[in-house]
């Protein structure tokens, strides 16, 4: 693997702020997002969804719908191949195909309100909608459960009769809603607690929240008469969408092409397929392209969310502020199918600190919510809310400044996380030092009902597979083909790394995100990996091009290729030199075009840490929390395009503020989501937040030639904990529940 260049270099492109390559299309309305696609002969699909949170589907009669003029196809799960319990590896997590299939269209049982039951395609969306009302479904409603602790009870309504608790490699003997139990332990935990001067133990709970991307899910499929299936979709991973769709339809992946459209946000929620296989099946039946777009209430009721959680965290310390032991018990709901994000939750709960001894128990719990999905640092935000709240309380009780307390115990190179891995060089301490030195931390906060909070957070950068290729054009520019769908400007952050490697400008690289037939396999846009791993691929593409171009220069100069050096956009020998563009113009005389290619699979995740500071004011009469000032500090390794790094930090912080203050799935007595609209779900608006100041810390990642660390996810981890601490200092109440919405906070303030 590439090693970090040992001497800090002066970069020409990295660290600058060029205009993004897809910018003009996106500010003029010309960019084609999934919903903007129009194909000749296209028809429109809609999905009938369960009105019950839990019910047996006794029968489905689609005959009347099929007869409605304009309806061209109808489908239910009966049309799909029977899938055994087969596990498919999707890169950032594995999926049980039988479960995935049953989530896409219910098999026998509806497991949450909004669960897809049947679908129609018609000549207009209105006709398709009308046809849905003609489908007769006979349900037998069952009791539903939507709170994780209720779902764990022995007498809870059971979602699946074939899910048995997996624990330490063993399978239980009777079915349960507890799909898995995870256990990590290091050191002698009992002994370490016994030797502590102070132990704090608290219980926490958090509600499910949605990723909230503004673009609803959308897919268009054409199952051509020659059997080839093309899918245009908004996805975080075109290759994983291809794999899931091919598996669910039981066709070879070579029969499927996925064309990624521009994507309007994902945050982890656009990795699993929902519409793709259904649109494909409808298209197979009617022989026309079928477009399916979700409405906003479908997005809330049938996609996402992230788990609700119940957590207990106990931490011990000595008088002089050294952590002695930690114990965490985490139960996260997975929704209707197993495989939530409890794993990373368990890995992250104590990941910021050096614990001599620690124990973590985690539970993956089924309940009647949509199958939960990743949401930006999946599982870590809940865990950090619990751990950081206890850390703050310990610091307060010990009379130690919260930054000093963290510094005394901060994870650093050599720290072993409770789940095993040992950190290489990481930048947590540097974020704490930057927080301490920040103008925000140094300015006193004055005024009544105000408080300041600080908290830290951790997330991995997964590596995984990325491919890229680039063509050198005769005018000295380079066309870059990549497989990572671009959700927030990664075309540019990847292109900049190629430009830096070649010694040309960012503008001289033309990046394109291409379909699954046009580039090598590339894993999802997720896990904070694109600028890191696809950037690494771009770097390797650049090296491949330079190597070939040195050979071409040697042909022109009639010398040995080993005598040609490439430095800063020039090729030279002792006495000759040529710019990149000059040589690019002469390639046809030296054997033809040059194409660079690379595929990478960096092993072992790297690590990103952040620390956030927030000031709030709490209205004593209404318990409304106003965010007065916010500073996000993060180790970016090396910020390729600092504006987009800041943007990730700001966006993550505001999502975290929403999670802390307002956002939650509210369920009625029958387990149905009661607030499935933006109005009632209440994400932060521009008026709800202040400017988010950012401080980028750069501790180069040893596993990347330019030192890049992914930055996308860490910024959502600290906010709820930091907000809770700030609210405590404003009100005297330590909130152990999210969201800290006015009714909940007000009730707590009355005690």
């Amino acid at each position: 693997m590439a090693q970090a260049e040992s001497h800090p270099r002066k970069y020409k492109v990295i660290g600058t702020r060029p205009v993004r390559h897809d910018g003009a299309d996106k500010v003029t309305g010309r960019a084609i997002y999934g919903a903007d696609l129009r194909l000749n002969g296209m028809v429109h699909g809609k999905i009938l969804r369960s009105p019950h949170a839990h019910a047996v589907i006794k029968s489905i009669d689609t005959s009347a719908a099929a007869k409605l003029p304009g309806v061209v196809a109808v489908t239910t799960s009966a049309d799909f191949p029977d899938l055994q319990d087969k596990i498919a590896d999707l890169g950032e997590g594995a999926v049980n195909l039988a479960h995935l299939g049953a989530n896409v269209l219910a098999h026998g049982k509806a497991l949450y309100k909004g669960h897809a039951v049947a679908a129609v395609a018609a000549t207009s969306p209105h006709v398709a909608q009308e046809a849905l009302s003609l489908i007769k479904v006979e349900y037998e409603p069952l009791p539903a459960v939507t709170w994780v602790l209720d779902a764990m009870k022995d007498d809870a309504p059971l979602l699946h009769d074939d899910v048995y608790t997996k624990s330490m490699g063993k399978k239980a003997d009777k079915p349960s809603n507890i799909a898995a139990h995870i256990h990590f332990e290091k050191g002698d935990v009992e002994d370490a607690f016994a030797g502590s001067d102070l132990v704090v133990e608290r219980e926490f709970k958090t509600a499910s929240v949605h990723q909230g991307y503004i673009e609803p899910h959308v897919s268009t499929a054409l199952w051509n008469q020659d059997g080839h299936l093309t899918i245009w979709t908004s996805t975080q991973g075109s290759f994983t969408a291809r794999q899931q769709t091919a598996e669910l339809l039981q066709v070879p992946i070579s029969q499927v092409t996925v064309v990624p459209c521009e994507i309007g946000g994902g945050f982890g929620g656009k990795i699993a397929v929902y519409l793709e296989p259904v649109a494909a099946m409808l298209s197979r039946k009617c022989g026309r392209p079928v477009k399916m777009v979700m409405s906003r209430d479908e997005v809330f009721e049938a996609t996402g969310p992230t788990p609700g959680s119940s957590m207990r965290v106990k931490i011990g310390a000595t008088k002089d502020g050294k952590l002695t032991a930690g114990e965490a018990w985490l139960a996260y709901d997975a929704g209707a199918f197993p495989g939530g994000v409890i794993g990373p939750g368990c890995m992250c709960v104590f990941s910021c600190y050096e614990f001599p001894a620690a124990r973590v128990d985690g539970y993956d719990v089924l309940d009647n919510k949509p199958k939960t999905q990743a949401y930006r640092a999946p599982g870590a935000t809940q865990a950090a809310f619990a751990c950081e709240s206890v850390i703050d309380e310990l610091a307060e009780k010990l009379g130690i400044d919260p930054i000093e307390f963290r510094l005394k115990n901060a994870a650093k190179e050599g720290t072993r996380r409770v789940d095993g891995p040992v950190y290489p060089r990481v930048g947590f301490i540097e974020t704490l030092e930057a927080a301490k030195a920040s103008d925000h931390w140094k300015s006193p906060l004055e005024g009544k009902n105000r408080g300041r909070g600080i908290a830290s957070g951790y997330w991995f950068n997964i590596g995984l597979k990325s491919s890229a290729a680039a063509n050198v054009n005769p005018d000295g520019t380079v066309s870059l083909l990549e497989g990572s769908t671009d959700i927030g400007g990664t075309r540019t952050s990847v292109a900049m790394q190629l430009a830096e490697t070649l010694g040309i400008t960012a503008e001289a690289v033309h990046p394109k995100v291409v379909d699954t037939d046009s580039v090598g396999y590339t894993d999802v846009t997720g896990g904070s990996r694109v600028t890191f791993a696809t950037g690494l691929a771009a770097y390797e593409v650049g090296r491949d091009i330079l190597r070939q171009m040195c050979e071409r220069a040697a042909i022109l100069w009639e010398c040995d290729a080993a005598e040609v050096e490439s430095v800063d956009g020039e090729f030279k020998t002792k006495d000759k030199r040529m710019t990149f563009a000059e040589l690019a113009g002469k390639l046809s005389q030296t054997g033809g075009p040059v194409v660079g290619r690379a595929t990478v699979n960096p092993e072992g995740p790297t690590n990103g840490f952040g620390t956030h500071i927030v000031d709030v004011e709490v209205d004593p009469d209404t318990a409304k929390v106003t965010v007065l000032r916010y500073t996000a500090i993060q180790d970016a390794g090396k910020a390729i395009h600092p504006s987009y790094v800041e943007g990730q930090m700001q966006g993550g912080a505001v999502q975290g503020i929403g999670w802390a203050l307002n956002e939650e799935y509210v369920f009625d007595g029958e387990g149905r989501m009661a607030n499935a609209s933006y109005l009632d779900y209440r994400m932060p608006t521009a008026l709800d937040v202040p400017h988010i100041d950012t401080i980028i810390v750069e501790v180069p990642n040893p596993a990347h030639p330019y030192g890049v660390r992914g930055v996308g996810e860490t910024p959502i981890v600290p906010p709820p904990a930091a907000m809770a601490v700030a609210v405590y200092h404003a009100t005297g109440v330590r909130m152990q529940e999210l969201p800290m919405s006015p009714p909940k906070l007000w009730a707590a303030m009355q005690k």
Partner: protein, 180 residues
């Protein structure tokens, strides 16, 4: 097939006629009948602002306007904001200041910001936040959007005064700190 109504309107300065069903929203007609897909649908019920267009100069959620109500109106969509060969200062500032990530909310923000800045090119931060509160963005945390709108207003005011528009890096950039 539902009965259709003939509507005559002006879109981005061009006279435009279309047939629509009574139940169709202006957003649906723009996107599906007229193939102008710059205006986005995020919620279809007036909560996100991604579909914002100007109707006789006023920003409206086009998903809440019936297409038949557009009769005789002047409509501006995101497709009509740039000059023939030049981006509008709002668009330019959005790009230079990285005020978009996924970009799906961007058309709505640009149209709303235009309505605001045409009226008042030097709004305060609070006024911008207030006027843009009907537009949701899930990616950016709004910070860079607010700064871009503020800077675009300054450029528009400078252009209106005929002054030079050259700026040396935006204020937004200078305010972001970077520690190493």
């Amino acid at each position: 097939m539902a009965k259709k109504t003939h509507v005559a309107t002006t879109i981005n300065g061009e006279p435009m006629e279309f047939l629509c069903e009574a139940r169709q929203s202006l957003l649906e007609v723009l996107r599906d009948n007229l193939a102008m897909t710059g205006s986005k649908e995020g919620c279809n019920n007036g909560n996100c602002g991604a579909c914002t267009v100007l109707l006789d100069g006023q920003p409206v959620d086009s998903c809440l306007v019936l297409a038949v109500e557009a009769e005789g109106a002047e409509i501006t969509t995101v497709e009509g904001i740039a000059d023939d060969s030049r981006l509008h200062p709002i668009q330019q500032c959005f790009l230079e200041e990285a005020a978009l990530q996924c970009g799906v909310c961007t058309p709505g923000f640009i149209v709303t910001a235009k309505a605001l800045l045409d009226r008042n090119p030097t709004p305060s931060e609070h006024e911008i936040r207030f006027q843009l509160a009907g537009n949701l963005c899930r990616c950016t945390g709004y910070d860079k959007i607010i700064r871009a709108v503020q800077d675009a207003g300054k450029r528009m005011a400078a252009e209106a005064r005929g002054a030079s528009t050259t700026t040396n890096g935006s204020p937004a950039r200078q305010q972001q700190k970077q520690a190493t």
